[in-house]
Amino acid sequence: MGYLPNIVFAIILITGIGYFTRNIQKLSRNIKLGKDVDTSDAKAQRWSNMLRIAFGQSKMVVRPIPGILHIIVYLGFVIINLEVLEIIIDGLFGTHRIFAFLGSGYDVLIASFEVLAALVIVAVVVFWIRRNIVRLKRFLNPEMKGWPKTDANWILYIEFVLMLLFLTMNAADLQLQQMDVAHYTKAGAFPISQFIAPLFQDMSISSIIIVERVAWWLHISGILLFLNYLYYSKHLHILLAFPNTYYGKVKPKGQFENLEAVTNEVKLMMDPSADPFAAPDENAPVPEKFGASDVQDLNWVQLLNAYTCTECGRCTSECPANQTGKKLSPRKIMMDTRDRLEEVGKNMDVNKGQFVPDGKQLLGDYISQEELWACTTCNACVEACPVSIDPLSIIMDMRQYLVMEQSAAPSDLNNMMGNIENNGAPWPFNQMDRLNWAKES
């Protein structure tokens, strides 16, 4: 019987990590549905981007209030998780505060965890107030109704409860240490929970032990549950922000990819020795589709972008189209891409790993033409994103599909393109008149 807690702990741990691994495999399979893209260039810049933007949170502080609060939660997440290592060892081997041998170093660790936990609670409360009481505009766009709103609040509740459990566990532990209870090694400094400990003063030792144990078990179970919640939540960014900033765009923002499939066609057209009537080679691959109408037409970095998005809405709040009441919201572009990708993934799950056409696609069923044509390609959304997501590239790929595969450009744009084709300018002016300005006074 003595080993029962250890066994239960091992089962919980293995189940938690097992499910998480399964989710990550699914995530990775879905991302790989995207087209391949070469990201082997600019390694030094990519590492530096990841260090600066993800580890260093450099873009978060562009907006100082949420930026600093976020840094607190981020540090709390990274540092308090050192404690999880101790909890796992204690849980598996039935030890208590196994790292206590670190002595004063341990005191510093525990003390800093406590201070961070308290700060995280403050930050989370402020975040909740910003979303639900102050009701900041960027949290109220139409795409934030329903699950996205619930999801955001759930994350805050879970973090709040986890921190509270951590402090309760420490407080009960401290009380037991002061009562010289066996097994409760005297270790750690408790700058925050020392104020909670007196609450347990009048309780019996066995009751305090129950409080301590319940808090301990709920804390670690909560962490494992939260880990498995990530895949279903916008909160995936805590993991994906790192690869996403690495794989993010390293070229100037104004540089849009030149489509290679088009380059090949153009070369053929410009080649005087090419035979326009030649029958295509029997072994020639099917000509590549121009642009994107569904998630499989996007590249895998764009799909990684979609899973990384934490729906903060900085992109949308900087978007000139959105600011002036147009339907376009760059955040919605990312959310739609993820939702459609998830739908495609679930389709594959029930069809033995094969996607069976479902009569739906990203274009039209999720993202409307009206949204796509409202974009000014100004890159404000790309600049605003704290984790290097590029909504603009998805908008551009879908415009390419509309124009080159569907000839579905707005008529004004067709006129403009007709002018460029016929006389080399977007307006109907003769190319031979290009230098007339030099002679006008």
Partner: protein, 263 residues
């Protein structure tokens, strides 16, 4: 002081066996749009004054393909690009200057992949260099102390991280440079980019150029400075919409300098 503009074409220089220091890529707006032509001429006046050996392509120039590409017509873009690159490479062009951030961005970033490698600078960068090299100098003169705000063109600023060259030039005018609440990397678009210039906007509560003009007017400027012919049109329309055209002028940086120099 009305001087005849000296605008040599590449064909003329080539026939004489000469190479220009820089090719001035005028762009469609700069060639055809009545407002933008004034910017073109102002820039040429400065080039003439500084005795810069430049040339234009004239009738051999064609749209870079930028609006087609941003509209999604990659095919038309690459056809334009390949044709232009053939002309530029045929003349052995090494350096290009342009007063249009869209042409600037396209030639600088998107032409290399299609065989067109040039040093490309925006006219504000080029003008700044002329000052640095002492080839032009300027007294603040008529702009001394005037409140000027600069509207960052997206394809110069965010797209290519050029924020300081135009501002340095405004400072050289001894003017008071005032910044809008969203400027530089957070500057709001004028509403023309991404081929929006050539179509009606989607349904919304306001036009983008009006929003941006309001931000500019909040700084109480005497002049809204621009570095892009399309932004210029958008901001000019915005100022007219606000009935402020008698008190607030929209001017390109090149026009500011040409005016200060009394060219």
């Amino acid at each position: 002081m009305e001087n005849e503009l000296k605008v040599p074409t590449m064909a003329e220089l080539f026939a004489a066996g000469e190479q220009p220091e820089v090719l001035f890529w005028v762009g469609c707006a700069g060639s055809f749009d009545d407002r933008a032509k004034k910017i073109t001429k102002a820039f040429v006046k400065i080039l003439n004054k500084a005795a810069v050996k430049f040339a234009v392509l004239g009738t051999e120039e064609s749209c870079t393909g930028d609006p087609a590409k941003r509209a999604g017509n990659e095919f038309l873009f690459q056809m334009q690009a390949v044709t232009n690159i053939e002309v530029l490479n045929g003349y052995g062009i090494k350096k290009v200057v342009t007063a249009c951030p869209h042409c600037f961005n396209t030639i600088k970033n998107e032409y290399p992949g299609l065989g067109g490698d040039y040093e490309v600078v925006h006219h504000t960068q080029f003008l700044k260099q002329l000052f640095t090299e002492g080839r032009i100098s300027m007294e603040g003169g008529q702009f001394k102390g005037k409140r000027i705000t600069f509207h960052d063109p997206c394809y110069l600023g965010r797209a290519n991280n050029v924020y300081e060259a135009p501002r340095d030039l405004i400072r050289k005018l001894d003017a008071e440079l005032v910044e809008m609440k969203s400027c530089k990397s957070r500057g709001l678009c004028c509403g023309a980019g991404g081929a929006q210039m050539f179509k009606e906007p989607e349904k919304g509560s306001k036009d983008i150029n009006i929003e941006r003009t309001e931000q500019a007017l909040e700084t109480q400027p005497e002049i809204i400075a621009a570095g892009c012919p399309f932004c210029n049109t958008m901001m000019t329309d915005g100022v007219k919409n606000k009935e402020k055209e008698s008190s607030v002028a929209v001017m390109d940086i090149a026009e500011l300098i040409a005016t200060a120099e009394d060219l």
